[in-house]
């Protein structure tokens, strides 16, 4: 069934059937596993509240969903006990109800019908859709082996599907949160300290005296705990130093803003290291006791003076010295923030290494006001048989490469899907859960090429997104407000767990991920792996193992547990063996040296925009999460489209007016599908433009998001791959303006 896979707009579905489907769903609901409405109390109070944790981004704040007497969901409010949010959700979490109420949601399972030239989706029953998925997966398993199925998953619910796919026999489970996001910093920090930064980040911003942000645009990046703690730090008089070519919101709240030339951060970081070593500002005791490689580092940075860095970064040498001293004065209560989305220029692991080294010199790792040592509650796994051992994996496509990588690269899966005689390619089928790959992966052409080569693709989503249009089968999941999910157990100062339970029945004919996983498991002959009858039973079993219960968690929502070890700040002179080759903090990385990479970070120049082009810079808007909120009515009310930030000098050159719409064209000739509004502002440099990621949706069924703003993802066609860990550097793209509709130009 190797048909050319075209994007199908789901709007092709007959609407009459949708309404019909609706009424039947309601009847079928009573036996729904996990439904809390079977035994609804008669004398309801005016408000009911149900514990949940937020799924609008990956910070996962715990909160309460409030309902009124009529069962209408009114609002979501943070849980006071939750260390992720301290009772305050961010705008996206508060606006999470918009996800539930979105009338454009996926409503029924959809199956692709592909007569040539007339492709569309038709509605199907869950039984039919699941049977079809199982039939195809089994066929691929039989013909090519279970490893030929890959799961892309982002978000909580993906865990159940991971479990299913591992049981099925494939190790190819991936998320964009590694190769497009945190990957470089995790590899770099692991190489330096033997441990990763993790999520939520272990940064002790609350108690810091000096916070250094390398690009991290906290305040626009609305990861809740961080912004709250940054605010607390401001109250406490902490110094904030922001390095950003753009005048970010964080920069506007900082004592120092270093308007760095893009792509030159390594030079600045190395110059800081130079100053700190040269002026002997580093934490000598700490370095003596814990670190390896100071001498090599000293020699390495000898010539990396502020004057040298000035020529590269355009930051004044005096400023470099002053800020280095400011950091040292605050040491060890100083954080040079590792950032989170750090896949910028392909040398990102090295930049993150420079950040790690700087933190080490300042003695901030394992110290109050620096990086704390988080602890999580260890929830035992619900009993199920051992997973089968896979015979092959995506990595076969990359012999000898990425040895330091312990996660799966999304882009690696794409490569391993596209047939290539030189590579051990084998992937035939994808399951995509909660990730809009066309917006999250760079180089759309490659993603599409991989998709074209698939035999079968399933997408499990809540919304008709750009990615769903390419699926063979679409399974509609209910939103987080309508379902149970796994217990949230995240590393923090205090170990804690949080419960998500449904506040309402799933709307339409949508179902929760665990139900989908279990039903698929049944059909794939994997019942053994899903021995629980209801999900409540599974959760209760797990909770009882850690001294709580489902009943208790329904009342508390969040439960904090005592730490097992008293080592929140563990490096105040205590002996400690780091999980590195030398057992020390590796200023000089033996691991990288072994793999043939630079053991100490070096600055390498990156290309600059050609004449008439501007570097494409992108980031977050506080009220949106990527593409997932673009159709959320509560949030589009605040911001319905992105704009392209243009410096007034550039605007003058191009005669651009505030509010005018333009198209963007990148260095490879790719033109944005939709026009984008110009914002003339001094907040951006004259060699760059800036836009918020997540807009420019092509799926017409997104009635609020369709065609609103432009997509940065489309324009990121040039990818600078990090040789160490395969991260996709996305900030090496350049765009120019097209003032008139390019489609009309072609026509005339």
């Amino acid at each position: 069934m190797k048909t050319r896979r075209d994007f199908i707009k789901i709007s092709a579905v007959g609407t009459g059937a949708v309404t019909l489907g609706l009424s039947t769903v309601k009847l079928a609901k009573a036996s729904e596993p996990g439904s809390i409405f079977g035994k609804k109390a008669k004398n309801q109070v005016a408000y009911e509240r149900f514990p949940t944790y937020c799924e609008v981004c990956f910070w996962k704040c715990a909160g309460w969903t409030y309902k009124d007497e009529d069962g209408k969901i009114l609002k979501i409010v943070g849980n006071e006990e939750d260390p992720h949010c301290n009772g305050r959700l961010c705008p996206r979490g508060t606006g999470g109800i918009g996800m539930y109420y979105d009338e454009d949601r996926l409503k029924k399972p959809l199956i692709r019908v592909g007569e040539p030239g007339n492709q569309s989706f038709r509605e199907a029953s869950w039984d039919e859709a699941l049977d079809l998925v199982a039939k195809n997966l089994n066929k691929i398993k039989k013909e090519h082996g279970p490893e030929c199925v890959a799961l892309f998953s982002h978000g909580t619910g993906g865990k159940m599907l991971s479990h299913l796919i591992k049981a099925f026999g494939s190790p190819n489970i991936t998320a964009p949160s590694f190769a497009q996001c945190r990957g470089p910093r995790e590899v770099a920090f692991a190489a330096t300290f033997g441990e990763e930064v993790l999520s939520p980040e272990r940064t002790d911003i609350r108690d810091t005296k000096c916070l250094v942000l390398i690009g991290s645009h906290i305040g626009e990046n609305m990861h809740n705990g961080q912004i709250q703690e940054m605010s607390e730090a401001i109250d406490n008089g902490a110094t904030i130093i922001t390095v950003d070519p753009r005048f970010s919101t964080a920069a506007s709240h900082s004592k120092f803003w270093l308007p760095i030339k893009p792509a030159t951060d390594i030079a600045l970081l190395m110059a800081w290291i130079h100053v700190i070593i040269n002026e002997e500002l580093y934490d000598k005791e700490y370095i003596d006791k814990y670190a390896y490689g100071l001498d090599q580092l000293k020699t390495h940075v000898k010539n990396m003076t502020p004057e040298w860095a000035f020529g590269i970064t355009t930051i004044e040498p005096d400023t470099i010295r002053e800020t280095a001293r400011e950091m040292a004065a605050a040491s060890p209560a100083v954080i040079v923030h590792p950032g989170r989305h750090v896949t910028w220029y392909g040398d990102d692991t090295q930049r993150s290494r420079a950040i790690a080294i700087l933190n080490a010199l300042l003695g901030s790792w394992g110290r109050r006001g620096g990086f704390f040592n988080p602890e999580a509650v260890h929830l035992p796994k619900y009993p199920s048989p051992a997973y089968p051992k896979p015979q092959k994996s995506w990595k076969d496509a990359f012999p000898g490469q990425y040895n330091l990588v312990h996660e799966v690269l999304t882009t690696g899966i794409c490569d391993a899907t596209i047939p290539n005689p030189d590579l051990g390619c084998h992937l035939k089928s994808w399951i995509v859960y909660g990730t809009n790959l066309l917006a999250s992966l760079p180089d759309q052409k490659k993603t599409l090429e991989a998709i074209e080569n698939l035999e079968f693709m399933v997408v499990i989503d809540t919304m008709p997104m750009d990615i769903t249009g390419y699926a063979d089968v679409i399974l509609p999941e209910c939103t987080y407000l309508e379902r149970y999910d796994g217990i949230r157990s995240s590393p923090h100062r205090e170990p804690n767990i949080a419960l998500r339970m449904p506040a309402a029945e799933p709307k339409y004919d949508s179902r929760p991920n665990y139900w989908i996983a279990k039903e698929l498991g049944k059909r794939l002959g994997l019942e053994e792996y899903f021995k629980w009858n209801t999900f409540e039973e599974k959760l209760d079993w797990q909770l009882k193992k850690v001294g709580s219960s489902l009943e208790e968690m329904k009342i508390l929502g969040v439960k904090k547990m005592p730490r097992e070890y008293n080592d929140l700040y563990s490096l105040n002179g205590e002996d400690y063996e780091f999980n590195t080759n030398t057992g020390k903090i590796e200023l000089y990385s033996t691991e990288l040296a072994n793999e043939g990479f630079d053991p100490l970070p070096k600055y390498t120049p990156h290309p600059e925009p050609p004449q008439g082009f501007y570097r494409l810079n992108y980031g977050r808007a506080p009220m949106h999460t990527f593409s997932r909120t673009a159709n959320n009515a509560n949030l589009t009310a605040l911001k319905k489209e992105n704009s392209v930030w243009v410096n007034p000098r550039v605007a003058k050159l191009w005669d651009l007016k505030n509010g005018q719409y333009v198209w963007l064209k990148n260095q490879d000739g790719v033109v944005s599908s939709f026009p984008i509004k110009v914002r003339v502002t001094e907040r951006i440099r004259w060699d760059s433009v800036y836009m918020v990621h997540g807009f420019g949706h092509k799926e017409k069924r997104l009635s609020r998001a369709y065609g609103k703003g432009a997509s940065d993802s489309e324009l990121v066609t040039h990818v600078m791959t990090d040789p160490i860990m395969g991260g996709t550097g996305m900030r090496g793209n350049f765009v120019t303006f097209i003032l008139n509709d390019p489609k009309k130009e072609v026509a005339s």
């Binding site: 009310a637 605040l638 911001k639 502002t681």
Partner: protein
């Protein structure tokens, strides 16, 4: 560069990018209110002065316009209300600090009086008119008997109405363009001038026409004087008021204001009236229509432009 933007969106309809809460209804209402006040004022004044015979149009005939103007004006006001079913709430309280409130009350009182006044002359205008009911004939007789106190009541209420249509806007300090005490007298004068124009237009009597031409000329001069002072005041005031004045001095209302209100609505009819007084033959309808048109335009422009001016952003 200075940049100011509402980043969360403020999509409340009619608020941004500039206020547009009052549409055509309010300026029309103000115009008709001013017009009616003007006519009623002259009616009552000349009745009290005993000029029923010399100035029949002023005292008797023009007055038939007034109740109609008031009713249409009130209807326009009603159309402007967004919570119409609660209209009656206007008459559950008198709020002296609210021009809207005493406007509503004044209209409530003056409209029936205007009707009664005209009704008492109806049989003079339409001799064949039959009231049908005896009680109505009795009532007519009563009114005719008490025309004098009625005229006093009307003169009093018409002044309030005239001032009210003027100060309704100037009570809104929030709009820099309206935030001037000159607006009250200016609108009052303009209202009187439109009233005079109607009388002049309707009058068949040369002396009466000449009198109202003269009155109108005085009012036009006063208006021009107020307008000059208005702008001088703005330009000597705060930045927001300078900005307000600039809407008319090079800004988007420059042409409409100077051409339609000042030249066509005041100066040109003024000249025509002078010419007529000097004995040139000028069709009286022309200056009258121009004055009415100018008065209407003036209110439309002031309401529109005033809403554009603001303190913030």
């Amino acid at each position: 560069m200075k940049e100011e933007l509402i980043v969360s969106g403020r999509m409340n309809p009619g608020i941004d990018p500039y206020l547009h809460i009052w549409h055509w209804q309010i300026p029309l209402y103000l115009f008709l209110g001013g017009l009616a006040a003007g006519i009623l004022f002259f009616t009552a004044l000349y009745y009290i002065l005993g000029k029923e015979k010399e100035l029949p149009t002023a005292v008797k005939w023009a007055n038939f316009i007034a109740p109609a103007a008031l009713v249409i004006g009130l209807f326009a006001l009603f159309l402007d209300l967004k919570h119409k079913l609660f209209f009656w709430q206007l008459y559950t309280t008198i709020r002296l600090s609210s021009p809207m409130s005493w406007g509503a009350w004044t209209l409530m009182l003056i409209t029936p009086l205007a009707f009664i006044w005209s009704a008492s002359y109806l049989r003079e205008l339409v001799p064949k008119w039959d009231w049908k009911l005896k009680i109505l004939y009795d009532f007519e007789a009563l009114v005719i008997k008490y025309r004098k106190p009625l005229a006093w009541a009307i003169i009093f209420l018409s002044i309030i109405l005239g001032i009210y249509t003027g100060i309704l806007l100037s009570a809104f300090n929030a709009r820099p363009l309206w935030n001037t005490s000159l607006l009250g007298p200016l609108f009052l004068t303009s209202g009187l001038s439109t009233g005079a124009a109607v009388i002049m237009w309707m009058s068949k009597d040369h002396a009466e026409r000449a009198l109202f031409s003269k009155i109108d000329l005085i009012l036009i001069t006063a208006e021009l004087f107020f307008i000059i002072h208005l702008f001088m005041g703005f330009l000597a005031s705060t930045q927001v008021q300078i900005n307000a004045a600039e809407l008319f001095l090079g800004g988007e209302f420059t042409v409409t204001f100077w051409v339609f209100v000042i030249i066509l609505g005041l100066v040109f009819p003024g000249i025509l009236e002078i010419l007529e007084l000097r004995g040139y033959k000028v069709p009286v309808a022309v200056p009258a229509i121009l004055i009415l048109f100018g008065g209407l335009m003036f209110r439309f422009i002031m309401v529109e432009a005033g809403q554009i001016t603001r303190y913030l952003y």
